[in-house]
Point group: D3
Chain length 247, copies 6
């Protein structure tokens, strides 16, 4: 059920029965010396594709680039401005609306995307577009957070977390052969948010945000991913029950 | 401590000691037949000005117009597009930053403003602006919500709520002489969000969102406002403790 | 007749009879050490609200923030860019047009707003919007200027004028308790316009533009305000006679 | 002294002595059945080039396209949106500023350009650009208006005027061989401004605005052009006396 | 050498030696009933990753969404507006420039991307950004076109070509199990370009543009991909010889 | 057949028979010490107007300002940003489309305009506008290039070429009286493209790009212009055969 592997004829047939599409979004940003630059879109893609397979819904191509301005002091990060990201999301949604999709759900792996994606939804509604738009950030789902707390306690932190790194380790073990294994200190600075790139680097010098990234393990990744898939499906079911009232 | 009543010389003097400013924001939107179109900015202004007086911080002029696209099917509502609102907030913050303010706190009376205001903060940080930016929505503060629940239970709802109408009734009793007093049904539709203007009107035909607006009373308004002021001050104190790390 | 105190039901009833709305606009900018940062919106609001009361037309919430780039070298000034201000004005007008208002009149207290507001009108017409749009700057009305000349002669100047400060003194006497009373020189530089913030400060070091701000008196404020109200009403009557030809 | 005929080496030499440049702007819009679509830029170009020759200042290439939205119901009109026109003017000014020009004067033949050009100046100053920017609309100069009144009285009107058509007739007599010579009624509707394309056509069905276009004569064109050149030079001299204070 | 699998520490190390990065871009658009919606990014990604492996240069995450407005009449297509796409490309390039990359090469699988990508390069240079930016469209490389002509002659066409479908068939054979195998007519309309979505559908009713998509074979895909990789490497070598003159 | 000399009534009559319009575009940019700043629009205008005369099609006013960012280090150059130029082109095309023109052909004298003009066409089609849009760059036409090669061989170069200077010499001989006649070296740097203004100046210090500008002669200009006119007419005939399919 990957849109990228379908023809338009197959999409037309799908739209006879369903009007839901999942769109994985993430970021291209540093995840400390321990994690992958692609962590956020790799995890979101894995969740979305497994969900798509289980409940038989179409999954659009993954949009890897996101809003990562605060990580720009670390090499390899690529960020869109919030306003460009809004326009990007808006035009992708508009495209799918034109074909008849009415439940457009972003599966998100990156906190920095949430504000602009929600504002893109507002802008679409300002332009009188119809339909249900949602963003599900797997790492914010309560059941996932409970599981992660059981596994890592307060060492999970907020960026380059052992949970997200565990998933990527499970999915791409070979990429971790040259990542460091040393433990570092965990600082808990009393700071504000959002930070610009210089403020961020000053407060979080190696890119972690209060996380013990080194605790990541493949076996944890497998169960966290499973829980993310399961609860994302629950969320989608709730959305599907709402129908689209304006038709 | 109203900026509008100060001269630039007085602002310079203030900036020798403090670098915090409060900016009340709200909306110009229908609040059912029971409430005032200005409800959101009237309440935010009242909270901000009382806070400003108690803790001696400058309060900027109130920005009444906000992001209210979903209420446009009701006469008298005026909305900005999310993108224009982002630029507006961004330029107001930039202006105050130029003078040396470093803690810029929006006191908000309207849920629809939250996404674009937060995205404006992101955009400012993308442009490498420094300083602490925050939005405090008085109606989302936990203590306020607890008090409101005690007063109205699940009849509070989400728009044209008895709590916000109580505050405006307390502040502007004369405006309520010609408002209706009849009770109506409270519908609890299982709907999605955001809605466009037509979807909103279809689901919430008289502009209320699950709220018993008619329960509003001046005396409730007085105590809710007091609680909003008190907890907003608590929030501001927490922000002040964070300092600005990049200086 | 304040829109902010009405419900949408009352606006609907009003629109059965009239399609005119007044919108006070001003600025948040320095007005020398003698005057208030809010001078321009305070005066515009006072004129608009008194006009609204006398001729029974709706007055929208005051938009305090305006185009004040040239005053940014003085603390406390907040400016919008001309392009953002155009979009802001355009979207407010568009909102009121959607409800059926067809005579949309800005009551203006700040010269810097005139170009972008007029350009916003052009942009609305470029987008084929119908209706009458007008901006009445009370301080540019001939009768007001005649009165002011009688009172202050060539000491009126162009910014932080004794006339506008007189009105604010009349309206908010308490704010003037700590303003200076000393007289200064009145320079008449042969300069060009517009100026940027650095050029402005260089030419007008204390923020006055050829004005004897200290001549302001409450009693003058009262009669200037009355004349501004009276002649604004005359202007509005002329507009109302024009009808809207395209309906 | 036409920029288009110079090499950059010659411009460099010029900038050693002077920092003024004239830029003719007009419109591509209907001028009734009697006048030329190019009227506004043809007249502005003629004024600017003759001025440039007499006082030896550089004249930039003519920008024919302007803000003519209200004439779009008449074939052959081409309009820019006000916002695009602002950006266009802004970037042309910015370009000349980069080379060291500091007195940038638009010689204008079209009323519809005035608001966006002035707003472009505001935007440039908002962006802290230095220098003197001016727009001289030859048809608004008092001496020109006096002469035109002597020639045509109240039959001059406001668009496709006998004065502007006289100048083009003087400059391009051959283009008038197939233009009509019949007289029509002169209507003086009590209307508002600005109008959109449909409102305009409705009120001014043949494109004239209260003007007796047929009164245009080559001989009048010659003397009006001469007066426009003479008074434009006076205006420029006043500007040159102001210097640029910020250097 | 996939950026997504690296940490920022590894990117820093890479930048000590090289300053080149490849960015695969494509489209999400119909490719007739015979081909995959993801064809353009799947092929570009395959070329870029193989090139990256052979010459040891970093490959950024694939940007699947592109400028596909002309295919929007076919279900499943998602298009960005040209202006949003320009901003997107501009911000990705800007991000990599900030880290020290100076040779930024887009490996492109879609003709519709070329104009906006080149305009984004122009806009970056307008903003005075330094470095080499290039777009290599594998299907336009002469050697590739020669090979394709040998294989398919004039049945290659311009969209949903047997060559690009061959590559995807080679890479994702399983996706072709349910694609049709019937042959259709090949029309050669004498048309213009660009077309909007309705014009396109009218002229090319099943989405092919003069191509015999059914001629695609896995074995052809393998050799075309190899030739695309080989000649792309040649192109990159030419670029590397140019150095960056401004450092 | 110059639009600027027509009335709207004459345009209406023309549109009864034809729906084609030519728009000359060029640039205001340095052309070495040997050539004119207006070279690109002077040549494009000459080609377009002669073509218009011969095949009796309307020619719109010349747009002299173009996208010349790379020449900004040389005095007298004026550039638009690519994005503003896109909007400008888009709005001119939109204007002519509204009147019924359906074949809108830009006659171009400047390479830097090509990317943004083509992207403007894409943007118009994205907005579902109909009709044929084309850009004919006379200097890129094969027959013209063949002739130029016969005349100048590899001394033609890429900017301030003897061919374009020959045409302007033929058209405006008086402007060349004070241009230098000395020969210089011809460098053939192995560089990349596009360049920003500093990179360009560094590589091409006197503004020529590998060209022997001094070889320009009036007599060459005459025959090159003739060939450009002749082959442009051929191109237009090909376009006219394509019709507009969507009507």
């Amino acid at each position: 059920m990957l849109l990228e592997n379908m023809s338009y004829v197959e999409v037309q047939a799908y739209l006879q029965e369903k009007d839901i599409i999942l769109i994985p979004i993430g970021s291209v940003e540093q995840h400390s010396p321990y994690g992958l630059i692609g962590t956020d879109f790799i995890t979101a893609e894995a969740v979305a594709r497994e969900v798509g397979k289980r409940i038989e819904v179409v999954v659009a191509p993954t949009l890897p680039y996101g809003m990562s301005q605060h990580h720009m002091a670390f090499s390899g990060t690529a960020t869109l401005s919030p306003i460009t990201y809004i326009n990007l999301i808006k035009e992708i949604v508009s495209s799918f609306l034109e074909h008849g999709f009415r439940k457009i759900i972003f599966i998100n792996g990156h906190g920095g995307n949430i504000n602009p994606v929600k504002t893109a939804f507002d802008q679409l509604k300002y332009e009188n577009k119809e339909g249900i738009y949602a963003i599900i950030s797997w790492f914010l789902l309560k059941e996932v957070q409970d599981l992660v707390y059981d596994l890592f306690g307060d060492k999970e932190g907020h960026h380059a977390t052992p949970s997200e790194i565990s998933i990527t380790k499970y999915l791409r073990p070979e990429a971790f052969k040259i990542k460091p294994k040393l433990e570092k200190d965990i600082e808990k600075p009393n700071t504000y948010w959002p930070l610009n790139r210089y403020e961020f680097k000053n407060i979080y010098p190696d890119g972690r945000m209060e996380s013990a990234s080194w605790l990541a393990k493949e076996k944890y990744g497998k169960i966290i991913l499973e829980e993310a898939v399961r609860t994302t499906i629950e969320e989608i079911k709730k959305i599907l029950e709402k129908g689209v009232n304006n038709e």
